[in-house]
Symmetry: C2
Subunit: 139 residues, 2 copies
């Protein structure tokens, strides 16, 4: 059950940490890059990253400060502020993404066959609170 802790650190150290990114930073960028207009409401990130609203606020605080993200007003609903991916953010993601996901894949493929990865993903996805797609690999 503590797979995450170890895998996670191993993953971060490789390519993310050198750029001052966290796994959640990375995944936030990833989700933004795939969203329409490359922007998402905070609440959407809460769901996708499985954080609390306050966690997301702080996460975006850091990303915005690093210029990878921007806060944009949402006309039509003054409650929401978009988290908008900046060109810098997109570029960073592009740079980091390849080696990160490669690393991720190899981490699984070293010990599991493709079918087994599939199986594992399916089983985990059935657990409560783990939607299919809450896993980077599945993205």
């Amino acid at each position: 059950m503590r797979a995450q802790t170890v895998l996670r650190r191993e993953l971060e150290a490789e390519v993310l940490t050198p750029r001052g990114l966290t796994i959640n930073d990375f995944e936030a960028l990833l989700h933004l890059s795939r969203a329409e207009d490359q922007r998402l409401r905070r609440i959407d990130l809460v769901d996708r990253l499985m954080l609390t609203p306050s966690g997301v606020t702080r996460l975006l605080e850091g990303l915005a400060e690093a210029g990878l993200t921007e806060n944009r007003q949402c006309e039509g609903d003054a409650r929401v502020t978009w988290a908008q991916l900046t060109p810098d953010g997109a570029e960073t993601l592009a740079c980091v993404g390849v080696s990160h996901t490669a690393r991720l894949r190899s981490l699984f493929r070293d010990s599991l066959s493709e079918d087994e990865v599939e199986q594992l993903s399916e089983l985990l996805g059935r657990l409560p609170g783990v939607g299919p797609g809450s896993c980077t690999a599945a993205c």
Copy 2:
């Protein structure tokens, strides 16, 4: 991949938190209770709980303060201080253990068959950093 986060909180809330215990607190007690003479070196807990030495120090700080654990000198090696389960600790574990593990089991069995749990456990166990037995269920 973020299964842990959710399952973990759900688990804690049920029976552990009301007693002021954390999952790691619980697992520490569990490991101690199964160890010879109901005591373990800090380093052993580091391995079993997948924490850093400093994490274990702080964990035991709390447990000792709550009287569930005691620090005992180790004659023969002055570097180590045993973490010794107290009667209180054993009792607490007994009280909490049944409902906690029941809850744990049901959490898996609600969405997975017994075979599938087995399968999941096997697959996870092959991942680097996850020995078989680092999962409460396997204990």
